[in-house]
């Protein structure tokens, strides 16, 4: 069977984002961009399924501007077999992404689709669940362990109270949590090889999807700053401050 992974191009997690002076968004010009860290975990999990013989092909899909090709190349360098780019300059929100992915999935017919649970830019945490809804598939969100046998999957999920294991029918959408695996680094020979792997480019029009944003961003601001630290010299002084000044204990 085939596995499909969705990979998003986001501001690198090491970059401290700055709000633009005109409050229309955050600075992305001349900022390092990388694959969303949760999506790296998704790629890794798909590769492990292929290495275990459970799937025979891993397809990496990215959606957005032309430069998303670089994100697909990263997935190909990790070991994915081929890529699909859905290219558009329109801002894509999770509902539109889910619709575009559904259109790609209708063509590719994978049995398992793995996505990051959340992108670290918009922090929406929606795409996997929406995609599952549109396809009428089950959704194994926040996964920390996956076992596939026959037409069924068992997934351990990270939930607020601890861990929960749910059984699902394939085909399945799974969204990754941090402890699912540790993604591999791409080796230099694999980075070279990735340049020759095929990437198919499509557009939202070709896929018949209206991607008009449903949410309008009116403004983006910086959060309120904190006062600054008061250094204390001893435990007794700390307890005094908490009791008498801050009055929290």
């Amino acid at each position: 069977m085939k596995a499909l992974v969705a990979v998003k191009r986001v501001v690198d997690y090491n970059v401290k984002v700055r709000v633009k002076a005109d409050h229309t968004g955050v600075e992305t010009a001349n900022v390092k961009m990388s694959m969303n860290p949760f999506d790296e975990i998704a790629v890794e999990e798909a590769l492990r399924l292929r290495e275990a013989g459970t799937v025979d092909e891993v397809i990496a899909v990215s959606l957005g501007v032309q430069q998303c090709t670089e994100t697909i190349r990263t997935a190909l360098a990790m070991g994915a077999d081929r890529g699909v780019l859905v290219q558009t300059d329109t801002e894509l929100q999770p509902l539109a992404v889910a619709k575009l992915l559904k259109a790609v999935i209708d063509q590719e017919k994978p049995e398992i689709v793995i996505v990051g649970k959340r992108a670290i830019d918009d922090d929406c945490n929606q795409t996997g669940q929406m995609l599952a809804a549109l396809l009428g598939w089950p959704q194994a969100t926040f996964a920390s362990k996956l076992t596939i046998s026959g037409g069924d999957a068992e997934v351990t999920r990270e939930v607020d109270g601890g861990l929960e294991t749910i059984g699902y029918k394939l085909p399945l959408i799974m969204s990754t949590d941090l402890r699912l695996n540790e993604p591999r680094y791409a080796s230099l020979p694999n980075i070279m090889k990735a340049k020759k792997k095929p990437i198919d480019t499509k557009t939202p029009d070709e896929l018949g999807v209206d991607v008009t944003p449903r949410l309008v961003t009116l403004k983006v601001e910086e959060p309120a700053k904190r006062q600054g630290v008061v250094k204390v010299g001893s435990v007794a002084e700390l307890v005094d401050k908490l009791k008498l000044e801050a009055r929290v204990i």
Partner: protein, 318 residues
């Protein structure tokens, strides 16, 4: 029209996160969105519905009591919300793992964009929400008919859990999707308060060096009536289970007092606790980023400082 809040519960009891979501619903109601109703979907959860009926400001409780809703499987609960949706302008759930799992599925079935993790209500269609791990706040306006929303609990002080007297109405089950089934849960049991509703939290990081050393924090926690949390580094190192994790990927907390012990202050940890009222940092590295957001900082070896703190609190309590 009215506002429907999905109750967070574990079949036996209503979870406090529900009260924060009702607080957001109350703001919508004040902005003209109508009555507040609560949906309790589960199995054997009549007691939860009765508790929900006591919540201040709630006009009606809908009870969907059926085995297919046990454990809140999104594949089964989403169709129920879709069926109820036409009577509502807003569907809300707390930003918990249950709410985050369920609501986007509902939104997609209704062909609307969810508004995730709102931290403020500007009007019936405009909301403030954190992006980039809380390093920026976006004000967004929804153009969709029905607003599907998850609510950041720490941004909305809870409403009173008592004082209301809503009617409980039963609603029919939408049946089993046949797509998923519950296998097992390994949930942590603790006598201490839950992280997301605790007034005081003491958290340990990589500096704790081992899981065993967390007993130092537990002793202090018990003297303060506090919950115990951890950084992602401490969870990844296997010191404590995943449900201890405070941070962008774990739990978002905003207690009166947050004590960070041996936590350097990675962006993703700060995102989960920087809205706490008072932050104390205890770290041997005075350059640690945690001091940049702390109110009080103590530079020192935690293995000396924490036992001292424990003793000092014991002395003053007695």
């Amino acid at each position: 029209m009215a506002v429907l809040v999905v109750a967070e519960h574990d079949a036996g009891a209503l979870k406090p996160a529900t009260l924060n979501a009702v607080a957001a619903a109350t703001e919508l109601s004040k902005a003209g969105a109508g009555d507040i109703h609560i949906l309790v979907a589960g199995s054997g959860c009549k007691a939860v519905a009765d508790a929900a009926a006591q919540i201040a400001g709630v006009a009606k409780v809908l009870l969907a009591d059926d085995a297919v809703y046990d454990h809140g499987l999104a594949e089964n609960v989403a169709p129920l919300l879709v069926k109820l949706a036409p009577g509502y302008s807003h569907l809300l759930a707390p930003t918990t793992t249950a709410g985050k799992n369920l609501m986007p599925r509902v939104a997609a079935l209704l062909d609307v964009m969810q508004i995730s993790d709102i931290a403020g209500v500007v009007s019936q269609d405009t909301f403030v929400r954190p992006i980039y791990a809380g390093n920026a706040l976006a004000t967004v306006q929804s153009k969709d008919g029905i607003k599907v929303i998850t609510v950041r609990g720490t941004a909305f002080p809870p409403v009173e859990g008592t004082g209301g007297s809503a009617a409980v109405e039963t609603v029919d089950s939408t049946g089993d999707s046949g797509l998923s089934h519950f296998v097992k849960a390994e949930l942590s049991k603790s006598e201490r308060p839950e992280l997301t509703s605790a007034r005081i939290i003491i958290s340990g990081g990589r500096g704790m060096q081992s899981g065993d050393n967390f007993h130092l924090l537990e002793s202090v926690a018990d003297k303060l009536g506090a919950a115990v949390g951890a950084s992602r580094a401490a969870v990844d190192a296997g010191f404590v289970p995943n449900d201890y994790q405070v941070g962008q990927t774990g739990k978002i907390v905003a207690p009166e007092l947050y004590i960070a012990v041996g936590i350097s202050g990675a962006i993703q940890h700060l995102a989960g606790m920087k809205d706490s009222k008072v932050i104390v940092a205890i770290n041997k590295d005075e350059e640690a980023p945690i001091f940049q957001i702390a109110d009080y900082g103590l530079v020192g070896d935690l293995f000396k400082v924490i036992p001292e703190l424990d003793e000092e609190l014991g002395k003053r309590n007695s």
